[in-house]
Symmetry: C2
Subunit: 479 residues, 2 copies
């Protein structure tokens, strides 16, 4: 038995038990460790480096469009949290409460932020006075706490890392424009960097964020056909501005309430990456956010010239901006192959005495297993080309899965039967009635993912009640 | 009265009331806003951008030396916090306790991390088994909470941002080497980027971090002569490894306890920057970490060609890697001058029709007020040179203040008299007795800052008891 086979046996087959496969990959690829508090996990260097790369891309996009980072406090007084009715109703059951500072009981309980709308609103109340102060395009990178009953690595933590943008604008139009522009930013992140195809659109009222007027989402499909909400962007109208008494003097010298948005993505994206791309050998990381894009495994390291050549290649690739690493440890090549397969490194470069003599090296693709003989001359360009190709093909593969697992349904029985045959997304017409949405959920367990921007009239009547229906909705099981 | 004068009158004079001056600058320069929770402040975009620049520099240095970032949970179970006796004794009086998740009381209280030694140790207990697993060079960027009685912006928050490095090594020598190497990294950050001269050395036992074997510190002097501990690096020996049962199989096949370090700097550095460099017109930011290094103020904006020329300059400077911004608002030039003086932007570039005709512009230095006529041709190089010069001169000015406010003392009366004449650092010989250290503090209010690496034998006997003394210690009042 080779080292590679041994290692792969450590993880459950993806098609046999997707949930167990996921848990195995998360642990074996060295992404997380558990802490003594349920749902509070340790992001090990490999997982955190993925998050840093996502941060770098997204933070660059935010700053490019005029957003600024701030830091709001971790703790929210109970009275402040209660200022907006729907928000407190949505979050009260799941916040963690601080009651003591040192040995003393606090006069007012403080919650650990589950989200920071209230803090931003209070700050805007203090700092927005004139049209000159608008817009404020703020974002923060932080962790939030939600005391969930059931937890799962990356997908549902009690504490998770995210970014939360909170903006305030003079007009409703401007705020809506911002909400949608951010949704597009999230879609770009998912498709261009994470190789995850998305469906974009507003949520139904029932799925809307507490206190928001409209919630837009980017929805992704996992390999097993279930949906994952990858990011949301909320338009608040002036609901929060009124609750928090935020007012400004406009150019026409009248007092007005401004209009607000908020939006966020979290480390849950890492869960999405694992579940969209991974396979029975472990993780497959999209190269543009991978901590290591290529790993060099020298073959017959002790032979003359091999190590020097490998080091030289590493330097060349790093200089060309490729995130290359080299494994010079005394483990066997087989062990190393399996290790970097498990970790999902896009390309493996093998170089031994024979390759060296031919001024060639061997490149193995993680996603396809394809083996290529590549000339050392001009290697940088070829690696860059291959990394782009891997990205494109990962995206294409995920698109095919999405297409293969999306079906149309014109009635509930059909919807249920098709779902039972193959888990996936149902495209169905909906009358807009919340009662129908609930009935669909009760009968099929599916929930409305979103009302996609790209509409198609697949029938004239609601999939549930048969009344005339104008909107096509994507329904799905969800993480 | 010009706009500039009006604005300056808003802040107290630095030499009249340093504490009030500090509070004024922090608020008027737009660095912070207060939240509803005492000691938990909002870092506004300008302050957060300074922190981001510090992070970027430091994170680059850490990664360059093989450190990796991780994320540990915010919450620590009470039983875990209690595992190391000295640590819990040091921190128990000032931690915030979470007692409820949603409506339910927790079976065990959780504290919000005041520092994360215990979490790292538990993780190392789980993941360090063999010499192959060592060293682990981990760092995290996060916020911590300490329930302080008295608080002050940047200097003493109940919640503050910091980085905390935690490393584990096979040998004591290696761990000590790491502790000192990180101290040098902090010194480099302070001097090369923040223009803050430092004194480096170990702390006395009394000033050592709870649970540490040795604490090294970089100490800075503020403009008013008080000391600020800018960063600390702790060597733990195997104290924590034993308390947390961290063991590894060494190359010789025996089980051993590894050796650990931890080290950190926080947003308190921003307080240091303000108090070292600021003056009666407001903030002065060292250019290498300033969000904006140069601000362009177009003069007679409506005149033909002015705005285009200003925009062109901005593009040129940005392209050259200079953080330039431009103020095109309808405020008067006088208002703008005062605004960017308050915000401490190193250079102001004025350009009007006359300058344009001469292919020149005016540069005004924030630190000296000096006005320079600079040719537009070759502007990028000249600006880069000026920014370096500003940095060097800020550092030099701070060094002069440090020298002018440092005095030698051979007895307690002399020490007290010199301090009363001029607040500053005392260099004094110390016998090593904790009782003397306490007496010095009681009689002069000064505390031992550190035992500097650069020693000088200024007397033969202890400043307090007169016994033979070998060590020169720096004593000072502190923030």
């Amino acid at each position: 038995m080779t080292g590679s086979q041994k290692r792969v046996e450590q993880i459950t087959s993806r098609d046999k038990d997707f949930a167990q496969w996921y848990t195995d990959v998360v642990k074996k690829a060295g992404l997380i460790d558990y802490s003594g508090v349920k749902g509070c996990v340790i992001l090990r260097p490999y997982a955190y480096a993925v998050w840093e790369n996502i941060q770098k891309v997204l933070d660059g996009m935010f700053k490019q469009t005029g957003h600024e980072n701030v830091y709001m406090p971790l703790l929210i007084p109970e009275s402040l949290l209660q200022k907006e009715k729907e928000l407190i109703e949505g979050f009260a059951p799941e916040v963690a409460w601080v009651t003591h500072g040192g040995a003393e009981e606090l006069s007012e309980r403080l919650c650990i932020r589950p989200t920071s709308e209230t803090l931003f609103c209070e700050h805007y109340h203090n700092t927005v006075h004139s049209w000159r102060d608008l817009p404020k395009l703020y974002n923060q990178w932080c962790s939030v706490v939600r005391w969930e009953k059931t937890t799962r690595p990356f997908l549902r933590h009690r504490e998770f890392l995210w970014q939360e943008g909170h903006t305030v604008h003079a007009t409703a139009d401007e705020a809506i424009e911002e909400t949608v522009a951010i949704l597009e930013t999230y879609a770009e992140l998912c498709e261009k960097y994470l190789a995850m195809p998305v469906i974009k659109g507003p949520k139904t009222k029932n799925e809307t964020f507490p206190g928001a007027a409209v919630t837009y989402a980017v929805e992704c499909m996992m390999h097993d056909g279930r949906g994952l909400q990858a990011g949301t962007s909320h338009y608040f109208g002036d609901i929060f501005a009124k609750a928090f008494d935020i007012e400004f003097t406009d150019k026409d010298n009248t007092q007005k309430h401004p209009f607000q948005t908020s939006w966020g993505v979290s480390t849950r994206l890492i869960g999405g990456i694992i579940m969209v791309h991974g396979d029975d050998s472990g993780l497959i990381l999209p190269p543009r956010i991978a901590p290591t894009q290529l790993v060099i495994v020298p073959i017959s390291m002790h032979k003359e010239g091999v190590l020097d050549a490998a080091k030289d290649i590493k330097t060349r690739l790093l200089t060309a901006g490729i995130r290359a690493s080299m494994d010079m440890s005394d483990q066997s090549p087989g062990w190393k192959f399996a290790e970097y397969e498990m970790k999902g490194v896009a390309l493996r470069l093998e170089i031994g005495p024979r390759d060296l003599a031919e001024k060639m090296c061997v490149i193995v693709r993680r996603d396809t297993g394809e083996k290529l003989h590549v000339a050392l001359n001009g290697l940088e360009k070829e690696i860059a080309r291959l990394l782009d190709m891997v990205h494109d093909e990962l995206l294409e593969r995920a698109r095919k899965n999405l297409a293969a697992r999306t079906f149309d349904a014109t009635g509930l029985d059909e919807m249920k039967a098709k779902l039972e045959k193959k888990i996936g997304f149902a495209r169905a017409m909906w009358c807009g009635n919340a009662g129908c949405e609930q009935e669909i959920n009760e009968k099929t367990s599916m929930r409305a993912r979103c009302v996609p921007f790209e509409q198609e009239k697949i029938a004239d009547t609601c999939v549930c009640c048969g009344s005339p229906a104008e909107k096509m909705v994507i329904f799905g099981l969800q993480y």
